[in-house]
C-alpha cells in the first residue's frame, strides 16, 4: 500500500557510488594527512628546500599540501576500486 511516489529511495548507480566514495574518503584521509604533516613541518621551511628564492605564504603551502594529499589519495583508492571492480570474475566451475 506504499504510495507510488514513495516506494522508498532508489539506489545510486554502482559507478556513482564508487566515484563519490573514493572522492570523499580521499578527502578525509587527505585532511588527516595534511594535519599530521604540517604539524611536523612548516611549509615556509619546506618549500625553501626546493628553491631558495621561492617565497610562498603558509596559506598557499597548506593548500598545496592538502591538494597534493587529496589527489594522491584519489589516485590510490580510485585505481584500487577500478581494479577490484573490473577484475575478471572467478569461474565457480574451475
Amino acid at each position: 500500500m506504499i504510495s507510488e511516489e514513495y516506494s522508498g529511495a532508489k539506489q545510486w548507480s554502482r559507478d556513482k557510488q564508487a566515484v563519490f566514495t573514493v572522492v570523499w574518503i580521499s578527502f578525509l584521509s587527505a585532511a588527516i594527512g595534511t594535519m599530521v604533516f604540517f604539524a611536523l613541518f612548516d611549509p615556509v621551511d619546506l618549500f625553501g628546500i626546493f628553491d631558495e628564492d621561492l617565497e610562498i605564504s603558509r596559506d598557499a603551502g597548506y593548500a598545496a599540501g592538502f591538494f597534493f594529499f587529496w589527489i594522491l589519495c584519489v589516485l590510490c583508492s580510485g585505481v584500487t576500486a577500478y581494479l577490484v571492480r573490473t577484475a575478471p570474475k572467478r569461474n565457480a566451475k574451475h
Partner: protein, 449 residues
C-alpha cells in the same frame, strides 16, 4: 547528477524526539556560528591560527609541538563514539552529526518556502509557473545565503573573524581565505541541500561499520513485530483482537517521516540513522487510536524477546576503561604541561676547542621557545661536568610571549674534568615560577684521556 536516486520528501512530524533533535540542532549549530565571535583576553577565544602555527583555545595556546594532545583528543573522540554506539546505537547519526544537523536546517528552510511534504511533491511535479519560481527562488536564496554564512564562519575559525568581517564588507578578502570559504559553503549547500541521506548511505564509513559495535543489549529503534502484526487498516471502533489484527494500522506515517526512506517495520537496517522520527510518528497514531505508545520505540533485541537487558557488559567496561585512561592521561599531561621548549643543538663544526689555561670549550646553539602569551625571564644553568661554566650568555634569558630565542653559548670546563664523551644537562627555569622548568641533555666532548 542525482536523478538516479528518487528524491525523498521527509514528512514533518512533531513529538518528543523531534523536540530533542531541534534542540540539538539549535545548540550545536548555535555554538558553531557563535563561538568565533567570543573573545578571551582581547583575542578570539577559539582561533586555529594556521598562518602563525598556533592554536588558541580559551586561555591556552597550543603549538605544533603539542600535536600529541590533538592525537589523544581524536582517540578519545573515536572511543566515545564506540562507547555511545554500543550503549545506545547511532545517537551520533541521529542528533549530532553535522550532516544530520545541517540537513535539518536546510529542510526547515525548504518547509518555510515550499510548504509541507505534499505541497513540496505537488510543486515539484507542477510545470514552471510564477508561484513555483518564487518559492524555489526563495528557497535557493535562503540556502545560498546560509551556506555562504557557514563558509564565512568556518574560515572564521582560522582567520580572526572580526577582521575577516571587515575585509568582507570592504570586498577585500584574500585569495585562499575566499577559496576555502566558498569551498566549505558549497560543500554545505550540496551535502545538506541535495545529497542528504545519500551521504549516510553511500559515503559514510561509520554507517557501515557501526554495526560491529552493536550487540543484543544495544538500544536501537525497533518495531514491535509481535504486537503490531498482522497489520492492517481498521476503524477506531473495531477491537483489533476480535478482527484478528495487531496494533499496526499500516498508516505508512513511519515510512513517510523517514529521512532515509526506509520502512522500520522491516527490522534494523543500515540506512537507519536513528533520528527517531518514526517513533514520534507512530506514537501520534497510537494516541489517536487510544492504543498504548511504543509500537515503534527505543529498545534492545533482548528486551524485544522479553529477556533482560544488561547495560554493564564486558564490551561497555572495556570501552569505558580505555576511555577513562585516555581522558586521565590527557588531563594530567595538559595540567603538567610546561609552556617552554628547549632545544640544544651542538655545533658540528668542531669537536672541541682547547683554550689557554687547559680549558676545553664546546659550542652550542640554544633555542628557547616561550609558549606562554606573556614574556618570561629564565635562569639558565648547566651541570654534568665538574666546574662547567657558560660563556657568551648572561645568567638570565628573556623571551617574549609566544617568541623564539636562539642564542649561541659556549660551555667551558677544565681539562682534568673533561675527557671523552660526557653528558651535560642544560636547564632553564622561570624566575617568577619555579614550576616552569625544563632540562635538555647534550654532549660535551673532550680529549681522550
Amino acid at each position: 547528477m542525482y536523478e538516479s536516486a528518487k528524491k525523498i520528501y521527509p514528512r514533518e512530524i512533531g513529538g518528543r524526539f523531534a523536540n530533542l533533535s531541534n534542540l540539538a540542532t539549535i545548540v550545536l549549530l548555535g555554538l558553531f556560528y557563535a563561538v568565533p565571535w567570543f573573545n578571551w583576553d582581547e583575542r578570539q577565544a577559539v582561533l586555529f591560527d594556521l598562518p602563525a602555527r598556533k592554536f588558541h583555545l580559551l586561555g591556552l595556546t597550543l603549538w605544533p609541538q603539542d600535536f600529541p594532545y590533538l592525537a589523544m583528543l581524536l582517540m578519545i573522540l573515536a572511543l566515545s563514539l564506540f562507547f555511545f554506539t554500543a550503549l545506545a546505537g547511532r545517537l551520533w547519526c541521529g542528533f549530532a552529526c553535522p550532516q544530520t544537523v545541517w540537513t535539518e536546517i536546510f529542510i526547515w528552510m525548504e518547509q518555510w518556502t515550499e510548504g509541507t511534504r505534499s505541497q513540496r511533491m505537488k510543486l515539484d511535479k507542477a510545470p514552471w509557473s510564477w508561484n513555483k519560481l518564487r518559492r524555489k527562488g526563495a528557497k535557493q536564496f535562503l540556502w545560498i545565503t546560509f551556506s555562504m554564512w557557514t563558509g564565512f564562519t568556518f574560515v572564521g575559525y582560522f582567520t580572526p573573524v572580526r577582521e575577516l568581517g571587515a575585509e568582507l564588507l570592504a570586498l577585500n578578502v584574500g585569495g585562499w581565505t575566499l577559496f576555502w570559504g566558498l569551498f566549505y559553503g558549497f560543500a554545505t549547500y550540496g551535502n545538506a541541500g541535495y545529497m542528504r541521506e545519500q551521504v549516510c548511505k553511500y559515503m559514510c564509513p561509520y554507517a557501515r561499520f557501526q554495526s560491529a559495535m552493536f550487540d543484543k543489549d544495544t538500544l536501537i529503534i525497533s518495531y514491535d513485530e509481535k504486537r503490531g502484526e498482522p497489520r492492517g487498516g481498521r476503524k477506531r471502533s473495531v477491537d483489533p483482537k476480535e478482527a484478528g489484527l495487531g496494533d499496526c494500522i499500516d498508516c505508512q506515517l513511519c515510512v513517510q517521516v523517514c529521512p532515509t526512506g526506509i520502512d522500520i517495520r522491516e527490522g534494523l537496517q543500515y540506512e537507519c540513522i536513528a533520528c527517531a522520527a518514526c517513533i514520534d510518528a507512530c506514537d501520534s497514531i497510537m494516541d489517536k487510536m487510544d492504543y498504548p505508545r511504543g509500537l515503534v520505540r527505543y529498545t534492545t533485541e533482548h528486551a524485544l524477546h522479553n529477556e533482560g537487558t544488561r547495560v554493564l557488559r564486558p564490551r561497555m567496561l572495556v570501552y569505558a576503561t580505555i576511555l577513562l585512561i585516555l581522558i586521565a592521561g590527557l588531563t594530567t599531561s595538559m595540567a603538567t604541561r610546561t609552556p617552554i621548549i628547549l632545544d640544544v643543538i651542538r655545533d658540528r663544526n668542531a669537536l672541541y676547542r682547547e683554550l689557554p689555561g687547559d680549558i676545553i670549550e664546546n659550542s652550542y646553539t640554544l633555542k628557547v621557545i616561550n609558549q606562554d602569551n606573556m614574556a618570561r625571564t629564565f635562569a639558565l644553568s648547566v651541570t654534568g661536568v665538574e666546574g662547567i661554566t657558560l660563556d657568551g650568555v648572561g645568567d638570565t634569558l628573556t623571551v617574549d610571549g609566544g617568541g623564539v630565542l636562539s642564542v649561541p653559548v659556549r660551555a667551558r670546563a677544565h681539562r682534568d674534568n673533561a675527557y671523552g664523551i660526557m653528558t651535560i644537562h642544560f636547564t632553564v627555569k622561570a624566575i617568577d615560577d619555579e614550576a616552569v622548568t625544563l632540562a635538555e641533555d647534550s654532549r660535551f666532548l673532550g680529549p681522550t684521556p
